[in-house]
Symmetry: C2
């Protein structure tokens, strides 16, 4: 292996602050969702379902959208199905697999949680950014996602 | 409650790309550490220990530094102790509690994993940023961390 390409001081400082920010943001958002009776994993699934046509998605589409592996999604779906937030619709004649449907209960759950979630995202993140910083962050995220996609199949 | 302050389209686009980037980065970095035989949680503990004077830290300092709660840290420490990566030193006369020490084995583990970790962080993130973007990210992270700190005791 060639010489390690360590981060310099400026990069290191950024990387640590960035990681620290993400960890604290996750914690703050997790607490807010917890007050609304949802976990971050619940929320990750409810959002795309609530936005899908007919509030239905194939398991495969859902998995790709949120980047989880099959077993994690299956486990999470079982829990949410037991709580009545989602329902599974098997399509016997359709090899493309299970369709997940948001229930009325699931819709109510996300509609109740969403305003507080948006407020938290604003208060602790978005409202602290200038428009220019927002565009910079979008550009950075798109660039990183392209690099990761180019390096191989998307994780998970 | 007042009207929900939803994100506008530009903010929403940024927020989703940002979250997506973080999730993919976590996955990429997790796989790299996995190849080195460590979990992200192992690495989070090994880094501050390897940098501490005498490679020792009090459990409380360690916990504050990484922002975990007591039970998560205790659980993680037990696992790492069993694998010989860290050792606990109880100080009978000292009410300030347990001291965690990095073992020779733990030092070897982080020394082996660190170059690949740095390379991954560079390849998928840092090398894709301009110096100006690095400074912008540092400024944003510091601002967000100040807001979260001002809003209450740090999470976890």
């Amino acid at each position: 292996m060639t010489d390690p390409r360590w981060l310099n001081e400026r990069e290191q400082r950024m990387w640590r602050a960035f990681r620290d920010m993400n960890r604290r943001l996750e914690a703050v958002m997790g607490r807010q969702l917890d007050e609304a009776g949802l976990s971050p994993a619940d929320y990750s699934l409810l959002v795309p379902l609530s936005e899908a046509p007919g509030r239905r998605l194939r398991a495969r589409e859902l998995r790709r959208g949120i980047g989880w592996d099959r077993s994690r999604l299956a486990h999470q779906m079982r829990r949410m199905e037991q709580r009545g937030l989602i329902a599974r619709e098997e399509c016997p004649g359709d090899a493309r697999g299970t369709v997940i449907r948001l229930t009325g209960e699931g819709l109510r759950a996300i509609e109740e949680a969403a305003p507080g979630h948006a407020e938290t995202v604003r208060r602790h993140f978005v409202d602290l950014l200038t428009d220019e910083e927002i565009d910079t962050l979008t550009a950075i995220a798109d660039r990183v996602l392209r690099r990761i996609a180019a390096d191989g199949r998307p994780p998970g």
